[in-house]
């Protein structure tokens, strides 16, 4: 599959699997650790860990990410990479997010054990290019916080004693709470679809 995928390497979590998944799909992933080098047909913000630390490390990339988004480059945030697109998080009060999507990141309002770790059922709520040909299925989650958008962007949810936001979409901006790179063939299908969103936009 054609296309250069720029994976932002801001020092949080295991980027190797995201890289390997895009490679497996036949695209050309590159790990980018300097804002100046952020060039690609697609941009991916991966990451696991806490919001505050993530934003601190992502600070240098803030401007260039916003620029690329306004140019219409497809952006995919995964897990923490999804959280940082919002305005702020209860996980790290006082730290500002990228604010690409209106809303905040909140602790999952559940009685069940946190973190929410493991395979849970993805309910696709409305049509989204990311879920082209996917009606539902199990995907892998690892998180204690989830996003609470103030815009109508939720395209998939999962049930964990509360309705948890599993994916969002607005124009060229996509985000998944689950880890598509760790979600077996269904996850690979989601990434494959991401590499084709330009046709759909």
């Amino acid at each position: 599959m054609e296309g250069k995928v720029a994976i932002i390497d801001y020092g949080v979590g295991n980027l190797k699997s995201v890289y390997n998944a895009f490679r497996y799909l036949g695209s050309e992933p590159v790990l980018v650790n300097s804002p100046k080098e952020l060039e690609g047909d697609y941009i991916v913000v991966p990451g696991v860990g806490a919001f505050g630390k993530g934003m601190e490390k992502l600070a240098a990339f803030q401007e260039v990410i916003r620029e690329k988004v306004s140019e219409g480059i497809p952006l995919l945030g995964v897990c923490l990479g999804l959280h940082v697109m919002f305005e702020g998080s209860d996980e790290s009060p006082g730290i500002r997010g990228l604010g690409i999507i209106k809303g905040r990141v909140l602790k999952i309002p559940t009685e069940l054990k946190l973190p929410h770790i493991g395979w849970n059922y993805l309910k696709v709520k409305r049509q989204c290019p990311l879920f082209d040909g996917i009606r539902g299925g199990h995907v892998y989650f690892v998180h204690s916080y989830h996003v609470s958008p103030e815009e109508d962007v939720v395209v998939a949810t999962t049930d964990y004693g509360a309705e948890v936001v599993a994916a969002v979409w607005r124009e060229n901006v996509f985000g998944t709470q689950f880890h598509p790179e760790k979600s077996g063939s269904l996850g690979l299908k989601v990434l494959h679809n991401f590499l084709r969103v330009k046709d759909a936009l």
Partner: protein, 274 residues
């Protein structure tokens, strides 16, 4: 609803150039089972929810072999990968994370230096830090023998559980139930709980052990040691709060595929990913 996870375990002997998967009986006798990444890929295709690699050679010069095994595997296996055995510190962990691992499991190093748990959780997050507990039953003959320990009733009589290190070769005197609570407090994200008595026997998981620990901690507990039949996995999910079941030989020699085991569980009402 969250699925119960089925996790094949690859015990890796890294003393040969590319590494090989072996299976021991009660941590001792060894049988050869295959090339690590080839088995991992097969299990991934069969529907494994996660794969655990345990370095049973666990000596320093072989660390690079595990890195190679994980690099090869992560190019073609897209479920979480855990590496255990021989992780002594943050740098060892960083190497396997950079190779593509998602979690490390530590046992001996954690018992010798419990602060390592806090350190790994701080550097890589709790989700990446699994503490492996290898527990052995100690029958309590008199009330004095159980003093200061968590004594559990079993069909074989009251006993407590002792933590072992170095792959079941040495014992520490540490109570496994108390240790489980401590590792949770220190930031472990999961507990991989192996019964030394049952490991390699195909007699089933140690249910009293799995039950007492999975009920006491809030983090997920992976039951391990003794699985010989799909019934054992069903039993451990029915009788205990285990979130996942780990098994090795039941899958290695083609007795059952992961798909068959999951289908068996689904028919009995256990939520699994198919």
């Amino acid at each position: 609803m969250l699925c119960k996870r089925i996790i094949p375990c690859l015990d890796c002997d890294l003393a040969v150039p590319m590494g090989r998967v072996v299976k021991g009986i009660e941590f001792k006798q060894i049988r050869y089972a295959g090339v690590p990444w080839e088995l991992a890929r097969r299990y991934y295709e069969e529907g494994a929810d996660e794969i655990v690699f345990l370095d049973i050679t666990a000596s320093h010069e072989r660390r690079e072999t595990m890195v190679h095994v994980i690099e090869r595997t992560s190019e073609m296996v897209f479920v979480p990968l855990t590496v255990g055995g021989g992780i002594r510190g943050v740098e060892d962990a960083r190497k396997v994370f950079n190779a593509g691992a998602d979690k490390v499991a530590i046992n001996t190093a954690a018992l010798l230096d419990p602060d390592l748990i806090n350190e790994l959780a701080r550097h890589f997050g709790s989700q990446a830090c699994v503490v492996a507990i290898d527990a052995k039953r100690r029958i309590v003959g008199s009330p004095q023998e159980g003093e200061g320990k968590v004594v559990v009733d079993t069909p074989e009589g009251p006993c407590w559980f002792e933590c072992s290190i170095y792959g079941g070769r040495e014992f520490t005197g540490v109570d496994a139930v108390q240790w489980a609570s401590e590792v949770e407090g220190r930031g472990a994200g999961e507990i991989l709980l192996t019964s030394v008595d049952r490991d390699g026997t195909t007699e089933g998981y140690d249910l009293p052990l799995t039950k007492v620990i999975s009920e006491r901690v809030d983090i997920p507990v992976i039951a391990s040691g003794g699985c010989g039949f799909p019934e054992h996995i069903h039993e451990v999910f029915k009788e205990t709060q285990a979130s996942a079941a780990l098994a090795a030989s039941i899958f290695h020699y083609g007795k059952y595929t992961i798909g068959e085991v999951k289908e068996y569980l689904r028919k009995r009402g256990v939520p699994v990913r198919l």
